[in-house]
Symmetry: C3
Subunit: 300 residues, 3 copies
């Protein structure tokens, strides 16, 4: 009888939501994040030419969500650097992934079965970060629905939302796209998760926080592990969005797109310098787009 | 006798300065701001492809001045989002302007006589925001003359001062120009207004704040309505500036400009990637410039 | 006997560390900083076309380190503007350097022997700013080693670390490089100095702060005056770095570089618009790079 109650969903969720993140889950997060920094083109050369810039990028990949949330809430953006243990751990992971002799550490952690475990643990951490972020925002702004959603979103998406500026640090500048224009699965999931947790925090969703953490973690872990294992780019939300978006926001007609490419309105649009080279390079760019998406999907 | 005193300028100004902004003037501000977001090339397609990005842009257009002032004063940039009523109102206006069936709402509010009323009300709000901003800055920094002027300027100009980053959110990047390099009329008027209000706040201008608000509003409303109605690009300050600037700052000699286009100093200047395509596209760019100016003049 | 003790290193260092910076050293800092703003291509035309943008750039050159440190510590970025005396002084220097009749002031202060004196005084101020910054950060975060180093670094390097955004204000955009990717001597020296002062502040370096200030100032003044006088681009740290970096971080193999230029990974890398024009302009760009380095080396 006692055993059964201990196994009940509520108890399981409660004990799951109390597992501390610090050493193990955080290290998994650092490993996966910095792994995807290394996948970025030019990142390895950068680490040789300018270790300081590479280290700063690694820190942004690991702590981007904390920095952005601190900025938005008006706190000091380097506040998290006061947590020496985490920063040292992340620096050690960065050093091992980029400079370990014979690339040994990199080869171990990027071996797919090992990587999938780390990816799963990173997603557990992501859900927990969303919940903590919304609780924190709720503490500051009791009725700030929008603030809670935004902080939760930022906490979940992390560096992706400031990828333009992270790339600038590495000398790369791609203004024609950003994470908000073309949301990847983790960013979308963070947004939807933030809405759910905000509803829970303000008592509109009649479910305990522990249960919600447990269910969201289950969904994120299974979805992300599946996507990573199959190298798939599909998003589990596509069906839902294809159903709701046209009703709410209308659909982009192909005629609009066509008009945009050749119409006169386009010439007023941006610097001609960009257009001249964008049009012949279209097919290349599209390729580019696909690979970027895959990359950043991986990176989350 | 009583009637006469009630009609006196002071009383009129005082009661004018006490009219609450919230529902009516704020909605006019949202309507005009989001109308000019819709005029931006690519904004309609963006709202179909990525409603989240479009909504964020709309919020920047509506609350840009508050965000920028909060950032400069070290407060939380998302503080204003805690004002649920305003955000919901602005979101409703955004939804109606972009997604109303048959474009009905857009057609109504962009009908010139209707639009002129909204433009007039927006200018009333602008003057009030400058006054409030300077009062707030004065409260924090009693002798911070420069801070008062800057905060007043930012509160009046709003999103224009961060247009580069607002465009980046929409995937557009025009680094060769910004609002400070080529100030439009509302930005200039906000700067001059901020100087006047700072002089008033520090008791150098022997006039009551209510009177100053009244006079500035009169000037701004008449100038902006006239400019909008005639689609004119002239600035009422041109005569004054053409008189003062050459005395204080010298004048740009045409030879300098010529040298800048072909001289060797230019090759050291920017990324050659930009120049190669900028020079043949000069005439297009100039056209571009003109239309941008008109656009952003409208946008204020 | 008394004379001898007064001449002892400790006493000398102590009295040196107590010399107030405000009028004389600060003015030297303003003069040298704005001098290097004037060296930037296009800065003179900018001051004619848009005095407001030029003045804002000058303020960033003079107070960039304070602004950036305030931003990182979560304080108001315009806090320093409340110091009216400094801002007025810097504005006067800006006006004299850019608009003095017959360019008289500029010719005086850019005369090499005079300039060397100002450069020396600027370096004294730089070391003091690093020490003050680290003391301030230590006060906020007692065990925040990383925070102390970062704040000290930012205080020493100043506008260089945000040169991308300072350039954007002038309508120039060079995303392919930044100060962290290609550190100039003052930025590197500030980083190493920040590490030394952090070790001193946390009692790992058994030396008094006054002595450390004195020794660092001596090194910086002599190195910077020598580099400025000889127009040299060499960095005194090169030998040390060439010894340590290959051990710690491996060395960039020339093959990597080659691969990066022609390999397929590059095409996935950035916007094709940039590449098309970057490759033919390579030799120009390299020239560009060199002159930029010299410029920003001077600018510090």
């Amino acid at each position: 009888m006692e055993l059964l109650s201990a196994l009940s969903l509520n108890e399981l969720a409660l004990s799951f939501s109390r597992v501390p993140l610090f050493p193990v889950f955080d290290v998994s997060n650092f490993i996966v994040s910095i792994l995807y920094l290394k996948y970025e083109p030019g990142a390895v050369e950068l680490s040789r030419r300018s270790p300081v810039a590479s280290w700063l990028c690694a820190m942004l990949y690991c702590f981007g969500s904390l920095i952005l949330a601190d900025v938005l809430l008006g706190d000091a953006p380097i506040e998290f650097f006061s947590n020496n243990a985490s920063v040292l751990l992340a620096s050690a992971v960065w050093y091992l992934i980029f400079f370990c002799p014979f690339n040994l550490f990199y080869k171990c952690v990027s071996f797919l079965p090992v990587k999938l475990i780390f990816v799963a643990m990173k997603e557990v951490g992501r859900v927990r970060k969303i919940a903590v972020g919304i609780h924190h925002a709720h503490h500051h702004y009791h009725h700030g629905w929008f603030i809670m959603i935004i902080i939760g979103w930022v906490k979940g998406s992390g560096v992706a939302l400031m990828s333009n500026f992270e790339q600038l640090l590495r000398g790369v500048w791609k203004p024609e796209t950003n994470e908000i224009l073309q949301m990847t699965f983790p960013t979308k999931a963070s947004l939807y998760g933030a809405i759910l947790f905000t509803l829970q925090e303000t008592r509109w969703l009649p479910v305990s926080k522990a249960t919600l953490i447990f269910l969201c973690s289950l969904f994120m872990v299974s979805a992300k592990v599946f996507l990573t294992a199959t190298h798939s780019h599909a998003s589990p939300f596509d069906t839902m969005e294809n159903f709701i978006c046209p009703v709410l926001f209308g659909s982009p007609s192909p005629g609009d797109q066509h008009h945009d490419d050749h119409g006169s309105s386009h010439e007023l649009h941006g610097a001609p310098a960009f257009h001249g080279s964008q049009q012949p390079a279209k097919s290349k760019e599209e390729l580019n787009e696909g690979s970027r998406k895959r990359k950043s999907k991986k990176a989350e």
